[in-house]
């Protein structure tokens, strides 16, 4: 069965998830579910290995051309497997053996990953939609997993309502595009669009459909102005789950957005470019300004993730293969540092999020030098200090943008990264300040093996991305080479030329 190899990581994850659920059902009720977590970790390692192995496959499609394996999809497969692995380790550290329905939580991690991976390799919009739903529904449930605590159900409901709204937009967009092009396949759509553009009779349905798709995906990547759910959901959901859902589904949605904008509609770039330009500016600015005012670290990071979505959108506006590569690379860097920082927040704040205010992190480095130093490191990377993944990602994104003449956008973006330094530094200053006599100090339990593994993975990734990014850059570059039509002289949008 050659075709099955094209969805090998997804198969591994599905089988693994079912195994976890079966084992959960067969275990005695009071017994610890942590072994299931380790089983899930093994499954995700296997999925990671399977994803890496997929680099050997010849590029091509399977199952009647709905799934496509190329450097691009494999790149995101590997990334998503890594994210799931790290966030499972964080979960193992955060939960107690008797946490309610723990086995299901582990299974949901794996099922969610199936959806995210399929999103990056699907080239049939209906399959993209199904994959998006698999990933979303898993995360809706996980967001509400602490049923007994106040904010978690609220967060889950909000996420569910707005998320399904966004999915509806996406689906409607697909329908309209189908109406205009008679197809839901990326390749066929591109051909139809090119024919329509050549004949100078582009159906208005196409524009509306494309706009709807952008709106739907804008929700998923939490780009402003579709970001309103993000802070509440991140605050309410358990931190280990936020580690996953602030990175995994987002990265997958960016993969879809890249696939659609550069794979299906490269010829309409003149139309989607201004939209993404404004989305980028709005996300960066609203995200960073919003983060300035937060007292909770989780809310602050929610706004910061909006800003980071904006930085990735900047790479889109470069309209070049360099830009696609930069977006892919930034996704990796963002995932590494964000999962890493949530690992620490989840450990310090606890599964029930008792201590997630900035003040709760005061003097962390004196209480636990390891966690404090790691937190400092991730903050430094988020700020964008050189020799970290965060810096190189930003560097690469803005370099691509400036190369395509987007100097104005780059200036806006880098001023934004200056603003961002303010709020990251507030946390850093708390972490590194000396504990004072007056404020109570919460002892931190020593980091367990699972957390150490998660930290090792994320710190190593962030550092490698900053010091020796060659390998991952080459991967991102190969991924970008999937879009031969991405490189062409960039039409500078009106807003940009007005800025000059």
């Amino acid at each position: 069965m050659n075709q099955a190899l094209y969805i090998l990581p997804e198969i591994v994850l599905t089988v693994g998830g079912i195994l976890v659920m079966l084992a959960d059902a067969m275990m005695a009720k009071p017994s610890s579910r942590k072994p299931l977590g380790w089983l899930a970790v093994l499954v995700s390692i296997a999925a990671l290995a399977a994803s890496l192995w997929q680099y050997q496959l010849p590029a091509g499609t399977a199952y009647f051309g709905v799934v496509q394996i190329d450097a691009f999809s494999v790149f995101f497969h590997v990334l998503i497997a890594g994210i799931v692995l790290a966030s499972l380790l964080i979960t193992l550290d955060a939960v107690t053996p008797t946490t309610e329905a723990l086995g299901e939580l582990f299974a949901l991690f794996l099922f969610g990953a199936v959806g995210m991976m399929l999103m990056s390799s699907a080239v049939e919009l209906l399959l993209v939609f199904v994959a998006l739903e698999i990933s979303s529904i898993s995360t809706y449930i996980m967001a509400g997993f602490r049923r007994r605590s106040g904010k978690s159900p609220e967060s889950a409901l909000k996420y569910f309502l707005l998320g399904s709204f966004a999915t509806a937009f996406f689906l409607y967009g697909i329908a309209l595009v189908f109406g205009a092009t008679d197809s839901t396949r990326i390749g066929d759509i591109a051909a139809a669009v090119s024919a329509a553009v050549a004949g100078a009779q582009v159906s208005p349905l196409l524009y509306i459909g494309l706009a709807m798709i952008v709106v739907g995906l804008g929700f998923k990547v939490s780009a402003a102005p579709f970001h309103v759910w993000t802070p509440d959901v991140y605050e309410g959901a358990p931190s280990p789950v936020v580690a996953l859902m602030s990175t995994g589904p987002k990265v997958a949605a960016f993969a879809v957005l890249l696939r659609i904008s550069f794979g299906a509609f490269p010829l309409l770039r003149g139309h989607w470019l201004p939209i993404l330009w404004w989305l980028a500016v709005a996300s960066m600015t609203i995200g960073n300004l919003g983060a300035l005012r937060q007292r909770s670290v989780k809310r602050m990071l929610a706004y910061s993730s909006i800003a980071h979505a904006g930085y990735i959108l900047v790479a889109f506006t470069a309209l070049s293969r360099e830009g696609v590569a930069a977006a892919s690379f930034y996704a990796v860097a963002y995932a590494a540092m964000n999962v890493g920082i949530f690992a620490i927040i989840s450990h310090v704040g606890g599964y029930d999020d008792r201590l997630t205010l900035i003040d709760d992190f005061r003097g962390l480095v004196w209480r636990s030098p390891l966690l404090g130093a790691a937190m400092g490191f991730f903050l430094i990377s988020l700020i964008g200090i050189p020799f970290t993944g965060g810096f190189f990602g930003k560097f690469y994104v803005f370099s691509a943008a400036i190369h395509s003449g987007m100097v104005g956008l780059a200036i806006i973006g880098l001023i934004n990264s200056g603003i961002a330094a303010f709020y990251y530094l507030r946390v850093a200053a708390a972490v590194f300040s000396r504990p004072s006599e007056s404020s109570p100090i919460h002892a931190v339990t020593p980091a367990g093996f699972a957390l150490l593994c998660a930290l090792f993975l994320t710190v190593a990734a962030t550092l490698i991305l900053g010091i020796a990014p060659g390998g991952i850059l080459a991967g991102a570059r190969d991924a970008a080479a999937t879009y031969p039509s991405a490189t062409s002289p960039a039409p500078v949008p009106a807003a940009e030329s007005a800025l000059r």
Partner: protein
């Protein structure tokens, strides 16, 4: 052989040391001793540079050029010329001094302190030796982090605020600086300093864009120096930071970068903005000196004195006379040396008395004769007494710049008089009045062995640099001569002063 990897060694030995420090046991003196050894080894390694430097040559030496990232084309390219040679040496020289002065001051969390301290050494050396703009920017930004963390973690009462202020002041301009670098990359297709330089001299780029780019560079550097209106962070940081950090926070990194990039890459734009910079420099000289005159807190006094003296370097740079440029580099080294010595002296005083408020001192000379001697030596060097290094630097700057802008230089000369006023007042107030209660009640402990070891190398160097200045100048001149103005009027007067490099020639 060693020539091919010496710069990497000097740059990375402190980082390797830092990694070892992370694994050393916390108990006992193992960590400080080891950190001191690392800085000494770095210093000894760096002595290789002046010993094997070819002073007759103008280009970069000890180059290492390896590929790092293929696209974007970023190379691991190191090298030094006469401009950076002595700044590297200054940095490695201040390394052991910094370790020694922290010996007693930092007794808790030594692991964190020395880890960051050694990392800071790497960052600063890296700035001076990087010839790839990306690599340079990396070290430039990296140098902020250990510094800010050390100030926040080991600073005095308001350390956290000072660290934040320092970080934001220097980080924000760096964002625009990065845009400028990326724009240059987009135009030239390279991050290599020499290639960018060659490209800019052979191609014409849009003039307006270039002047914005050079301005972005200049602002980022001017904050770090600091130049007059951008100096808001300086006094807080010097007051709050641990001495080992206060010693190295100002001056050399920013001034070096102005030389290397603003003068090296954008000569025309630098000349266009020179009138403004000269005015700011003279204001800075006078403002710093006047504010220093009224300080009671010794650390703040030193902070403003540093502002004043560093503005002299800016004056020397933006007059573009060869003697002035030589003097500016020389003065940068002086300032690093004498400013550090003064901060170390203040730290030793603070170790004994727990205060740095001048009004509480008096008559200390009879109690602590050695301290007094060294203090006076440092003060005289700073004031610019002939035979000391400060004299050579100030003289070169002022005499070299005088033919270019006589009136501004005349105004700046007042700063020299003022600096004598505040330094001598300080010496008088601490050492020569009636002994104060604080001094009388203290069992008089003069300097110990460690303190002698910290201070004498600096004091001797001040004298040696004053007497044998041509040895330093010849290296500096090989680096900066290409940056000077070549119009005949200035070259003659500059050649006179520069070649002689002796105080005897008056313009």
């Amino acid at each position: 052989m060693l020539n091919d990897s010496i710069l990497t060694l000097i740059t990375l030995v402190p980082t390797a040391g830092a990694i070892v420090v992370a694994f050393l046991p916390r108990r006992g003196r193992a960590i400080p001793v080891f950190a001191l050894l690392v800085t000494l080894v770095t210093f000894v390694l760096s002595l290789h540079l002046p010993a094997h430097f070819d002073y007759s040559q103008h280009g970069f030496q000890f180059q290492e050029n390896r590929s790092w990232i293929s696209s974007p084309a970023i190379r691991y390219h190191l090298g030094i010329d006469g401009l950076s040679l002595w700044l590297v040496l200054l940095t490695t020289f201040l390394g052991p001094i910094g370790a020694l002065v922290s010996w007693r001051a930092i007794e808790h969390r030594t692991k964190e302190f020395y880890f960051l301290f050694l990392l800071q050494q790497t960052a600063m050396i890296g700035v001076f030796v990087s010839l790839d703009v990306f690599l340079y920017y990396g070290f430039w930004e990296l140098s902020l982090v250990p510094m800010a963390l050390l100030i926040a973690m080991f600073g005095r009462e308001r350390g956290r605020q000072a660290a934040l202020k320092f970080f934001l002041y220097t980080f924000l301009p760096s964002a625009l600086f990065l845009v400028a670098i990326l724009w240059l990359y987009a135009q030239t297709g390279t991050f290599d300093f020499a290639q960018i330089q060659a490209y800019l001299t052979t191609h014409t780029l849009p003039a307006q864009a270039l002047s914005w780019v050079s301005l972005a560079f200049l602002v980022a550097f001017a904050v770090k120096v600091p130049v007059f209106p951008l100096h808001g962070w300086l006094s807080d940081v010097i007051q709050e930071a641990p001495t080992a950090m206060a010693m190295v926070v100002a001056g050399k990194l920013g001034l070096y970068s102005i030389f290397r990039f603003n003068l090296g890459l954008f000569p025309a734009q630098s000349r266009a903005i020179a009138p403004l910079m000269i005015a700011l420099a003279v204001i800075g000289i006078l403002y710093g000196a006047l504010v220093a005159l009224v300080q009671n807190d010794m650390r703040r006094l030193v902070a403003y004195s540093i502002l004043s003296h560093l503005s002299t370097c800016i004056l020397g740079i933006f007059c573009f006379a060869l003697a002035g440029l030589n003097g500016a580099v020389f003065q940068t080294i002086n300032e690093g040396l004498t400013g550090s010595a003064l901060l170390v002296l203040i730290a030793f005083l603070y170790d004994r008395f727990g205060t740095v408020d001048m009004s509480e001192f008096g008559g200390l000379a009879t109690r602590m004769p050695m301290l007094a001697t060294l203090w006076v030596i440092t003060a005289l060097a700073l004031v610019g007494l002939p035979l000391f290094n400060g004299f050579v630097g100030e003289f070169l700057v002022l005499s070299g710049s005088y033919p270019v802008h006589p009136s501004w230089v005349l105004a700046a000369t007042i700063g020299v008089i003022l600096s004598a006023a505040y330094m001598l007042t300080m010496v008088q107030r601490i050492f020569y009045r009636q002994p104060s209660a604080l001094v009388v009640n203290q069992p008089h402990l003069d300097l110990g062995l460690r303190e002698h070891l910290t201070l004498w190398p600096m004091a001797i160097l001040m004298l040696v640099m004053g007497v044998l200045s041509p040895y330093w100048i010849k290296g500096i001149e090989s680096g900066v001569s290409s940056l000077a103005d070549t119009s005949p009027h200035i070259t003659t007067s500059a050649a006179q002063n520069g070649a002689a490099a002796s105080p005897a020639v008056q313009p």
